[in-house]
Symmetry: C2
Subunit: 348 residues, 2 copies
């Protein structure tokens, strides 16, 4: 059986998993290789290791920690006689998938921008390595082996610290012209009118619907100043029956639902999968999301399923490993269009 190493590099945690594609054509023969893997046939993480991200220590320290954690799992796999075909990485930041380089990243990952991640990991792990954005990896994992399994296309919404996601068709993530596709939190939202957004504009969904936004809007509406995060707002909405908390969550969920409805009208996906921290926040939030979507969906696409993600943190590991398998089979790239630096418009 052939395994692929999946790596998820986030702002707080590095996770590494040994991913088995259970739909492999020759799954029970030792000789099965990448060509025999059926990506749509399911996948699971059979061994897992993780470590805090040394985010403040710079690129070299982060890479060293990834190598340390990955090497442990690789040694374990080899002891068990399992060949590991390569390594797929999902990393925070904007990724140039053609080269596996980090184009840009938030300042919380010190020095991460510019890291030639695929090249340095290939050198250190002595395995072929591909890299994609972590949210894109997460979406691909859910599409292939999670809540979107069996759907020819799927829109993933990751609602947590930010509102992001990805659009997946035919098992391919659309990365975008500049690697930024999936910034659904930067759709205009009437509920956020006038509020400044993290991106520099204003009135975007993210400033009303993300976790930090829920805490912020709760405080701004005169909520209990003891509450400092979204978790606290959710606790007060259910436990203390705090009407300000309820209204804040209702508005956040409804606004997200409206945006989802507009996206479904625009792109007609086979399903919408909602993950991220907020998707675990319970029925009160989900009900607002569903009502918001229902208010916008054209009757002809109203049957589009809106379902919770299933794989949790495993999704990014599976998606990153799947992206590696794809790329190894087709070195020109999944979506040729996803190669960066192609803004060309013919003049009229």
């Amino acid at each position: 059986m052939t395994f692929v190493l999946g790596v998820d590099i986030g702002g707080t945690k590095i996770a590494v998993g040994l991913v088995e594609f259970t739909g492999a054509a020759g799954a029970d023969s030792a000789g099965a290789d990448l060509a025999g893997i059926d990506l749509a046939g399911g996948a699971r993480v059979v061994a897992l290791a993780s470590s805090p991200t040394p985010a403040a220590l710079g690129s070299a320290a982060i890479v060293a920690e990834v190598v340390r954690v990955a090497s442990g799992l690789l040694a374990e796999a080899r002891r068990a006689g399992h060949p590991v075909a390569g390594c797929g990485v999902g990393s925070a930041g904007v990724i140039d998938r053609a080269t596996g380089t980090v184009v840009s990243a938030t300042s919380s990952l010190t020095g991460w921008a510019g890291t030639p991640l695929a090249a340095v990991l290939e050198d250190r792990l002595e395995l072929p390595v591909t890299v994609l954005n972590d949210v894109h990896a997460h979406a691909l994992g859910e599409a292939l082996a999670g809540a979107g399994r069996g759907c020819p296309s799927m829109m993933m919404i990751a609602a947590g610290t930010g509102i992001g996601g990805a659009f997946v068709t035919d098992g391919l993530v659309w990365a975008g012209a500049t690697g930024l596709s999936g910034h659904f939190g930067h759709l205009p939202a009437a509920e956020a009118a006038g509020l400044p957004c993290t991106c520099g504009r204003e009135g975007h969904l993210e400033v009303i619907a993300s976790g930090p936004a829920i805490a912020e809007r709760y405080r701004a509406a005169g909520g209990d100043p003891v509450v400092t995060d979204a978790r606290g707002v959710f606790a007060r909405a259910s436990g203390a029956a705090d009407p300000i908390a309820e209204r804040t969550i209702e508005t956040a969920g409804y606004a997200l639902g409206r945006a989802i409805g507009g996206l479904v009208n625009s792109l007609d996906p086979h399903a919408v999968v909602v993950g991220g921290g907020l998707s675990d926040a319970g029925e009160f939030w989900w009900s607002a999301v569903r009502r918001g979507a229902a208010a916008e969906l054209m009757p002809s696409v109203a049957g589009c399923p809106l379902v919770p993600a299933q794989l949790g943190a495993d999704a990014a590991l599976i998606g990153a490993a799947a992206a590696f398998v794809r790329r190894a089979r087709s070195p020109a790239g999944d979506h040729p269009a996803a190669a960066l630096g192609h803004r060309v418009v013919t003049s009229s």
Copy 2:
């Protein structure tokens, strides 16, 4: 040289063109066939015929008129010694691309829903035929041979009687799970809050930004009752310096621009191409569209070009012909995911 027949069936006009792919590898040899065509190499309509759509007379009459107009062009091509490899149709309505059947259509095309268009045209024209939605065909034409030429991905916005469009990647139109992708006019728009939409919901972009909406909003705002269509509102804005006309157009363009900005943030296309009747309405409208987009675009994607369509009505003919070439080469379909009837979600 091998030609492909392109057909555009709209509510008011049937157009048929003989499409030449100028990027054909063997363009000047008589033996060039479909396999030799470079779809990204450009295309043009070398002969054109059209006729009013007998929309009220039912499906058989519409098909008969298409056959009559197409047969004339086919005879002309054959007289000139040009082989015609097949026929690509762009038709109003929701199309099942796998079978070339009209799934549903507006009531203005009497009896059009249910027409097995590919099958009946194949029989009557004695050519292989493929069908896609007319707006999707239009977008594909602009992507391959018009304003989007050279862009690995492109979002087309068609702003006219409605607000529609398509998302094109790698020369493929994303048709959607139910064939409805590209209904960008059904994104929520703050400027349309409370106004009923044609789709049955309310507050959608289309009721503030489409041509009929511009006329309707102008009248509702107390504009000159003599004005009955968008053309009249535009004339008053430029000629009569009517402040209500100016404000109505400003709001319509700005709302469309904001929606475009949100879509670019969400999908990061290589370019946005704006066509349809309103795109010919001049700089006053365009300037509002650009300002609306600029207000929403994240700085990192603000460089995405926003350009007018170039091909006019030829776009749908070229796009339909290109979709035929694609399908003829790959009978399983462009986007396997675009086959309809695949709403499957694994239960958790």
